[in-house]
Symmetry: C2
Subunit: 199 residues, 2 copies
Amino acid sequence: MLIVVSAPSGTGKTSLCREVLAMFPELRFSVSWTTRPPRPGERDGQDYCFTSEAEFRRRIEQGEFVEWVENYGHLYGTSIRTVQSFLDQGHDLLLDVDPRGARAIKERFPSGVFIFLLPPSLAALEVRLSRRGESADVMAARLAKAKDEIREMIWYDYLIVNEQLDEAVDRLRAVYMAETCRRERFYDRMKGDLQSLTG
Amino acid sequence: MLIVVSAPSGTGKTSLCREVLAMFPELRFSVSWTTRPPRPGERDGQDYCFTSEAEFRRRIEQGEFVEWVENYGHLYGTSIRTVQSFLDQGHDLLLDVDPRGARAIKERFPSGVFIFLLPPSLAALEVRLSRRGESADVMAARLAKAKDEIREMIWYDYLIVNEQLDEAVDRLRAVYMAETCRRERFYDRMKGDLQSLTG
């Protein structure tokens, strides 16, 4: 199962995903490729797969990314091969992708589960972004982008408001658990074991 | 939202529903009507609405039941009026109905959420039923009925195996929580509040 989470910057997506990932060993995180240099504490292959722009462009040409984007001068992308190999190993996979990328993933993996995280309000988002101490220009650009992204929520399967982190974590966990109980997925998981129930 | 739970006798449906109901004050239990006499400890209006056969038949004729069934000589039914009045008050409603009744409810309330609880295996169900100390005939009849009911799982939205009660409770809780996060329901719940998110 593919779980795709999108959220405007400042919604707390990273902490939320991290907490849910810690709860389910069978759920893995799909690490994105990027040309942006690692920030302090970030590890290659864990937070991102760091690579050069030349290498990234080569991979684009070879069709290795199910989605990629240029953001503030850096490239970010999701490798089809990584996604597919996790799924082939029987893992569920959590992806953290913006709405544009999520839409590309939905085209390729239509049975994925698409979750959009929302801030409690635009005002609350502004407060959270302002704590990052960025310039008024950057702030305004981020807010405008957030508004654009929030408009995309109309096609997601689930919407979760991150007002209290623990409540939002509980909801994201619930969505994942519920999806494993959906009849179609349940059948996939059970396979031959259904025999013992249908006699 | 209407949550309909079905399960073969001996699957532990009653305890499971009771635990989940205790977690969510906004989720109410739809009390069935019955002509069977109350068992010790059962309260009228809480466990069942107890009534006479004449009265029950009068209600059938007036189309008051969305579904009803005769079981071991007693009549059981779900009142449309009760269901509708809970929904009108903005409550979510949990119904405990057999697959035949659940199907009738699905026709009337197609946006309901239909959950089927399964025993870990037919052998496990047999063990649980045998603890009730019933005759071999009654046991055989119950098992045959369970097999028939389990065949109905193919049209339910969610399947939950009740192997460990606490795990099954957690899953049922997760399905309810996840369904409240589904985009369509989320919109209904938020109504005007979306304004603060879309600017």
